[in-house]
């Protein structure tokens, strides 16, 4: 992810042409393109036609565009809803429904809406539709939930300045805006008044490459057909996509083998067992769901890990290679606080392996001794009881930490109980997975108690921890629009976090999707959805 250097003036003036707009998650690489969208070249000529049946592993509950709490909700609606910007395969920000933008001042950004885009009902996309859409996102009506607002940047409101210009007014300078839009998860654009016209939980009208073919049938399927008026000329290649909801993994495997579906997400073991089966291709890709060991450092308690040396010792005693080997079949990477693959923001693998996350039992013991815990201590670590790799990881960590006399008691909880305890901070340690964010600030916000969200985390988890330097970096990172400056800040922040280790990031894991060999141009998307299918996949005969 190397790229050209941009200075501040370029950024502000160019007004967001492709590549220059990469102030959030996304590489510096700018292809400099104009507003016109080019269809990517392939080695073979893509064939138009065919319907892909894809097995979803969870019922999405609903497919309303605003306030969906389940990742699967976005996955299920992805074929039909898009936003102003989008990510390419490498998380570079590209124009989508907006052709570009101009930063007017610290809290105002104007987006140019692409002309001639038609919704699935034939109406043209205008700024007024965008205003309506963002109104819903900022106050999600049922079945959406207000709990997603933490993922949305500080947008005060939006207004239409003419038919094709959308003005976004921010409450404060917020660099997260562009990544949020490109992520699209909480930024879908739909026609004004849509929630009054149809049942958004099971139906929808968008601008995406596919349109609904009948409503979503819960626990059963969602059917899409090609949108013939899609604004990216020549796309999509497929005649349709049907999502079949098959929650049982064995049933998904059976369906793949029988050819009843042409793609599904599977666990690592199942996917690997299908390698070599005729007619099927196993694909993998990194995701943002890195595993992490979290600790609470609460005022009024006196725990060994309040001492940074203890935390560092724990980090040094963990053998990440063994975790990757035993639980993920050797396929995984080391992770810092920003997961690998997330644009230019994470610490490089080589540095993680050689410096920050290198196993060193002798040093660990030494640090513990210095902290006064040569005899170790006891601690309770909660984790999810399902999926099964969490208790497996926990068991391994337990045996690894025994070597430095830290006795970990593993308490596996069902996801609801775990989430409750996690949210309230009623745990000593926990072992969890993080998720995708629109902007890198999403991985740092919890370390700054001056933001609204950071304050909650601070009060429930870190009330006994002080580090003004860290806090300042996080706060400034969010309001810095200049990419280079921001990169530098976050690089420094990363290193501080790896030294202080308020949270100990462990490993990043792969997501596995098994597809029919006839499905081409598909990739496992980093962003938890099926973007690889929806963008430009096609079927050979």
């Amino acid at each position: 992810m190397s790229g050209k250097k941009m200075n501040r003036r370029d950024l502000l003036k160019k007004g967001g042409a492709v590549g220059a707009g990469a102030v959030a998650a996304g590489a510096l690489a700018g292809s400099g393109g104009a507003a016109a969208y080019k269809v990517a070249r392939h080695s073979a000529t893509p064939r138009r036609g065919g319907t892909v049946n894809w097995a979803l592993e969870q019922d999405p509950a609903h497919i309303a565009p605003a306030g969906g709490i389940l990742t699967m909700t976005r996955t299920a609606q992805e074929p039909m809803y898009e936003s102003l910007l989008e990510w390419d395969k490498n998380l570079n920000i590209k124009p989508a429904l907006a052709t570009g933008w101009k930063v007017r001042n610290k809290t105002t950004v104007d987006f140019d809406i692409r002309k001639g885009v038609k919704f699935h009902n034939g109406d043209e996309l205008t700024a007024a539709d965008c205003v309506y859409s963002f109104q819903q996102h900022l106050n999600p009506p049922l079945p959406g939930s207000v709990s997603v607002l933490g993922q949305i940047p500080a947008i005060a409101d939006t207004e239409a300045r003419g038919r094709y210009v959308l003005r976004v007014n921010l409450k404060a300078t917020d660099a997260r805006l562009f990544g949020y839009l490109a992520w699209q998860r909480y930024a879908a654009i739909f026609p004004a008044g849509m929630y009054q016209e149809l049942n958004a939980a099971t139906q929808g009208i968008g601008t995406g490459p596919y349109k609904m073919n009948g409503p979503y049938v819960p626990n059963s399927r969602i059917s899409y057909v090609r949108n013939p008026q899609y604004w990216k000329k020549g796309l999509p290649y497929l005649d349709g996509i049907t999502y079949q909801i098959i929650t049982d993994e064995q049933a998904r495997i059976a369906a793949l083998r029988a050819g009843a579906v042409q793609g599904a997400t599977l666990s690592v073991d199942s996917a690997r067992s299908l390698r070599g089966v005729g007619g099927l291709t196993v694909q993998k890709g990194l995701t943002a769901a890195f595993r992490e060991l979290q600790m609470t450092i609460k005022a009024g308690e006196d725990k060994p890990w309040h001492n940074v040396k203890v935390r560092q010792a724990v980090n040094l005693a963990i053998n990440r290679n063994e975790l990757i080997q035993k639980v993920y079949g050797g396929e995984g990477q080391f992770s810092g606080h920003v997961p690998p693959g997330y644009g230019p923001w994470p610490i490089p693998q080589s540095e993680l392996k050689s410096k920050w996350e290198k196993e060193d039992l002798a040093k660990a013991r030494q640090l513990l001794r210095q902290a006064g815990f040569a005899n170790g201590f006891e601690v309770t670590m909660t984790t999810f009881s399902t999926p099964l790799d969490f208790p497996a990881l926990a068991a391994l960590i337990q045996s690894q930490l025994k070597r430095i006399n830290v006795n970990v008691k593993v308490v596996a909880q069902d996801p609801a109980t775990f989430a409750a305890n996690n949210g309230r901070g009623t745990f000593e340690w926990d072992l969890t997975a993080r998720g995708m964010r629109g902007d890198v600030d999403g991985y740092m916000a919890e370390f700054n108690p001056t933001g609204a969200l950071g304050a909650t985390v601070f009060n429930t988890w870190f009330s006994a921890y002080r580090n003004p330097k860290m806090w300042k970096l996080v706060g400034n990172g969010r309001i810095t629009l200049d990419l280079n400056k921001r990169l530098k800040m976050y690089q420094e922040l990363n290193r501080i976090l790896m030294t202080e280790l308020l949270e100990i990031p462990l490993i990043a894991v792969n997501k596995y999707q098994v597809i029919s060999s006839k499905l081409k141009n598909h990739y496992v998307s980093f962003n938890d959805f099926n973007t690889g299918l929806v963008r430009a996949a096609y079927l050979t005969a």
Partner: protein, 345 residues
Amino acid sequence: MGATVGRRVDSTQTYGRAPADLGSRRERRQPFAEPGSAGRERQAARGVSTAEVTAPWEAVPRRRLISARWRNPIGIVGAGIVGLCILTAVFGRFIWTTDPNAPDAERLLGPSWDHPFGTDDLGRDTLARVIHGAQVSLQVGAVAISIALVAGTLIGLLAGYYRGIVDLLLMRLVDVMFAFPGLVLAIVIAGLLGATRRNAMIAIGIIITPAFARVVRAAVLEVMGFPFIESARALGAGGFRIMVRHLIPNIVAPLIVLTTVYFSTAILSEATLSFLGLGTQPPEAAWGNMLSTARSYIDQSVWMSVFPGAAIMLIVLGFNFLGDGLRDVLDPRIGGGVGDAVVNK
């Protein structure tokens, strides 16, 4: 499945009298028979004067109990199996010392000398885990039964002794619990309390309590009609004394049968709950959650599914055999069919 409890043990209210009159026909035919606990409930339910009934339970000579056992092969086999399981649970880990949580071996192996039951998805020894699972099952079963025993006996005693409004309220509570199929109630309780082993014990204990309560109450009602109770009262004995000295000894026999019978229910319930993710959680080994994990690896190792399930079946079988045998001895006239449908699952 056997995990459901709360069968229609007769009471004077609600759901009618299904097996009652079967018993009455039988009783009339054989007036000198010693009716089993089921028969007693029915009589009590019909308010029959207990003068016709032969000696109370106290009079069952111990000699007869023991000598009868020898003639009952099923009961013996059951006792043997149960004994074996208890021994395995208590001493097994000293004989087979492999650590059930150590992921040291190669994954998904089949049976071998090193690993007689194979290994699981993390490379842990399945035999060691099955042994640990025996501990878990027996512990949960014992605690759950104890809860049911104590709570059920208390409720039954109070309701049967005091009658009136106490009886009405307590039995209404019992009826509410009977309105749920047992397993569903256990799922709801364990799920909402939070999925842990301790909560599973509580949930299972709660769902077995009504059955104990009803049987105890029926037995108490019957004994209360005996003349010697009235004389004791006339002599000034208080409620507590009567309960302890006279009532409890008379309900011991049916309680023994109930305990063995419902122990298997408790174990099956524990396995089902942990299978569903509501009881003992991984990585701790419990037969149910081992089976649940094994489902994801059917393609790669059938063995993971075989041994925990066989273990469950074996121990439940043992308790059922034992229960059958005990019932034959303590309730000689019940041919092992009506009895267990009434008192059993």
